[in-house]
Subunit: 339 residues, 2 copies
Amino acid sequence: MGNRGPTLEDVAREAGVSRATVSRVVNGVRNVAPDIQRSVRDAIARIGYTPNQAARSLVTRRTGTVALVLSATGRAFAARVFSDPFFGRVVDGVLPVLRERGIQPVLLVAESEQARTQLVEYLRQGGADGALVVPLDQDDPLPAMLVAAGLPTVLFGSPRDGERCGFVDLDNAAGARLAAEHLWATGRRRPATIAAPVTAPTADERLDSFRDVFAARGVTSVPVVRGRFTVDSGRRAMAKLLKDHPETDAVFAANDLMAQGACQYLREQGVAVPGTVAVVGFDDSVAARKARPQLTTVRQPVERMAAAMAGLLVEELDGGGSGPASKVFDPVLVVREST
Amino acid sequence: MGNRGPTLEDVAREAGVSRATVSRVVNGVRNVAPDIQRSVRDAIARIGYTPNQAARSLVTRRTGTVALVLSATGRAFAARVFSDPFFGRVVDGVLPVLRERGIQPVLLVAESEQARTQLVEYLRQGGADGALVVPLDQDDPLPAMLVAAGLPTVLFGSPRDGERCGFVDLDNAAGARLAAEHLWATGRRRPATIAAPVTAPTADERLDSFRDVFAARGVTSVPVVRGRFTVDSGRRAMAKLLKDHPETDAVFAANDLMAQGACQYLREQGVAVPGTVAVVGFDDSVAARKARPQLTTVRQPVERMAAAMAGLLVEELDGGGSGPASKVFDPVLVVREST
DNA sequence: GAAATGTGGGAGAGCGCTCTCCGAAACCTT
DNA sequence: AAGGTTTCGGAGAGCGCTCTCCCACATTTC
């Protein structure tokens, strides 16, 4: 606490110059004669000076920090976040962009009502210059709260109506269409889907488009079971599907983990994949390649999207003007062994 | 940015009192007459005042923030952190303790050399009041760097010699002994182990104690294969073990994920578990209960340890004196289906 | 009734830094 | 040589808050 280290003033005295000059050297602004620069740097090293961020922020109104917020409204927060490789990919995408610009990335988690309030308060008080938000649930109030607090914010996934903030997103509808058309083209006529939880941000976009493709070709009924994005829930969903609709010859799951669970269950029951039932996943996460059979899946370029998200925020932060921007990415179908 | 909101001064004017009085109300110190208190609160609500954390920190030398640092020296950082449920458990344990005290938890990740330097710099400049560090690798220089920077620090896992900081740890040796004695008692005489990577903090503590137990009973050779804490590496390790030491009748893995991989591989090869080979894991993570067969494992009370870690730091932070404290937890053997 | 005690509020000095002015010196220009 | 321009360093005014004094007044005590 009372760790009061040396200040600019101390460095100035040590180097025999003024506070202003030391500040200029530290921040590398304007011209300072080379020899004075050297003597200042020496003094800094000699007495072990570190700038005080609080003092700096007070005048610059900047912290040099950006928050990456993982937010959920439901239960089992940590279990969800620290088992789905999706978040790791987001982090992987965001970090380099921020580091490169000397911005300190800070992970914040909002796992409860209370946490969310504390978090918004923290950011309002100047905890970070902006926020990158990855909402796990569709009805998450956090983005709206941040926007209302006037904090520059960029979302992973489209904002709901009225939330005026930047975002990156995947063209989910196009991805689902890709999957549907592939299954149709390979002769499947009895598809079913393991959908996202109703609360998921992307829940119905993927589902509806998938059905539309088949509906347009005369297949009007596509059974749906909701999963919870985990391998286990995929198994359970598949079990239900197999029981209620044994004629099913194709399954489209809303993420790879659930697709993997479906494959596991099918094979355990002696159902051939892809022989009898074809399975398509979503994301193209590491799970897709590790599963056996390797999954055919809709690739979501998560790292690139995350990087873009960080890029948009950084732009908004120093560009100033022009307001929230956004970027939508195109999915690609990756055909492997499960279809 | 130029988001200059209302200040204490504005509230004071609005409420017709002095800056000092508003400050007293906001921070709830000393006596302020009830009616004045009310009028100040009204004024705050009316003009939407939020205290400026930078200004506050500048004088108090406190941020009200604690960093939870995940640090690794190797590759594939995010993949490791966001797939092993272990970290979720740590987060789950730490958060409530901090929230309860109104401390804002901030997750920091040190995934590279550069990140580590930036991070230490950030914390030295007053990014947080203290750090909770979860090192993934034994040779991680971060704890030493933080201690050197004078930051109150508490580790998950014992510090290396000379690092003078608080920590919580599991009695790993006792855990390994528990596993060994259980296997011995159930008649296993040809044990092998799937050990942690040499770089892991707990690598040899578990391994050595396990061997000691068997050595004391005349079994002097215990084959070792190193894994990488993942299911996949467990499979590979088991394959090697089965090839080189087909007589093996028991396997002790350094975490549940590897034990799970071992079980999978054994069963796929038609080797009965626990009939022919018994398997013991470590941690008692969710994976242990989800695996089939359900794993016998050494329970590490991660959440409680994490909570204690946070508690120790908080104490050091406001207690001041007395220096770094520590706490060691006892493991428990949980017998399930795999032995 | 005067002194001692307690209570509630204001004044104002910083915390460590940035950044706008200013002025002194050095360098061109015609 | 006189003026203009550029270069470089210092002075000093805050940024928004906390916190120590200090003072005015109310209450108690002998």
